[in-house]
Amino acid sequence: MVQALDYLKETASQTAGPYVHIGLTPNFCGIGGVYDTDLGTTMVSERTLGERITVIGRVLDGTGTPLKDALVEIWQADAAGLYNSPSELRGAADPAFSGWGRCPTGGEDGVFRFETIKPGRVPFKDGRPMAPHITFWIVARGINVGLHTRMYFPDEAEANAADPLLLRVEHRHRVATLVATGSAPNYIFDIHLQGEKETVFLDI
């Protein structure tokens, strides 16, 4: 006999269902008075350092229809390329920037919108700089396990060309699914769950 490897199993994911907004953005869906504000609504203040940007987009199903019951979260470095996280050991991030945002897709058009700042570059594991990017996480009815992906910037062609993650995309035309359109300060990032333009999702 050998010793047992006594690791536990991760709790299995289940869909966020049609009413994820009740739990995560109650004010948005009309349940007022429980929380002062919905978490993750405001990412920047006057004191936040960095270039202001807006990211809008939609989450589209296999027919090209935008989801109106999805929830999108983003996570990113500050303008200097530092994360506001206990696991960030390279330095202290901008205290006026949490780096995390949350937005429901709702309304008539299913558009999500983040007012944030352009993130600085952060290193890959081997020290090579990654191109500036924003980490996305998408949940909705019909999505069994939350989807991870990244948004890169269209005006960073040189950095994108050397980005270690983008270089791993085997079918090169699919790199475009990870790069926003538009130009500073207004970027557009549509997420396609399926179909010809299916976004590259990550198992990270």
Binding site: Y7, L8, K9, E10, T11, A12, Q14, T15, A16, G17, P18, Y19, V20, H21, I22, G23, L24, G30, I31, G33, V34, L39, G62, T63, E73, W75, Q76, Y83, N84, S85, P86, S87, E88, L89, S98, G99, W100, V122, K125, D126, T135, W137, A140, G142, I143, N144, V145, G146, L147, H148, L165, R168, Q194, E198, T199, V200, F201, L202, D203, I204
Partner: protein, 249 residues
């Protein structure tokens, strides 16, 4: 934003997710997944600092009634209708280590199985004193608890006669964005669990059983509320001692 994590910060990458333990993206028995499931392979990459890090929330953000769904939407002096219960448990990682400072957000239907939502069409009555959302943050040892009423089962348009077993939705933040998790908790002894197309998106029976909270008689409060225990396991991390680049540890 971070009185939550007093443990020594960890910087190792996460254990890969066991995709056979989780539901696949495409599960035709749950019809909405058909058009919302990615069909191309995921791009696999060992975690980078962008996923190893994540937001941490401080206990100071919590309001007094955030973990009391019986009262957090009720008019003063009133309370939600239903079976009074306490849900409690620990958030651990796959190594069995407590995850302190983990933000948990929960939402559920009322005792009759009705959600407070404009798109909800079930004819069960709304409870004017029940909103259906709450949140808590784990303590130093990973413990959390909240008080609520037992949600009712409800029908939903999937098959002609599909019903959801009584359940509570959970959203969980660990310390890294790669640990982000949404799941659902079920109640011990409910025969409807095994009929549910959403439960059955998960193939491994043991993974389903891990979502079922046992009645915890020892922690039941006499003349007040029964207790159910629900532990949540988040992805574990490799030790940075094993990494090429030594940092921390």
């Amino acid at each position: 934003m971070s009185d939550g994590a007093k443990q020594k910060p960890e910087t190792g990458a996460f254990f890969p997710r066991d995709r056979n333990w989780h539901a696949p993206a495409l599960t035709p028995g749950y019809k909405t997944s058909v058009l919302r499931s990615p069909q191309k392979a995921l791009l696999s990459l060992d975690g980078t600092i962008s996923e190893i890090t994540g937001p941490v929330f401080g206990h100071s953000m919590l309001g007094e009634l955030d973990n009391d769904l019986i009262h957090n939407f009720a008019k003063p002096g009133e309370s939600a209708i239903g079976e009074r219960i306490i849900i409690h448990g620990r958030v651990l990682d796959e190594r069995g280590r407590a995850v302190s400072g983990a933000l948990l957000e929960f939402w559920q239907a009322n005792a009759g199985g009705r959600y407070r939502h404009k798109k909800e069409s079930y004819l069960a009555a709304l409870d004017p004193n029940f909103g259906g959302c709450g949140r808590a943050i784990t303590d130093e040892e990973g413990f959390y608890s909240f008080r609520t009423i037992k949600p009712g089962p409800y029908p939903w348009p999937n098959g002609v006669n599909d019903w959801r077993p009584a359940h509570i939705h959970f959203s969980v933040f660990g310390h890294g964005f790669a640990q982000r998790l949404i799941t659902q908790m079920y109640f011990e002894g409910d025969p409807m669990i095994w009929k549910c197309p959403i439960v059955n998106t998960i193939a491994d029976r043991r993974a389903i059983e891990q979502l079922i909270a046992p009645l915890d008689w020892a922690n039941t409060i006499p003349m007040d509320a029964r207790a159910y225990k629900f532990d949540i396991i988040l992805r574990g991390r490799r030790s940075t001692l094993f990494e090429n680049r030594m940092e921390g540890n």
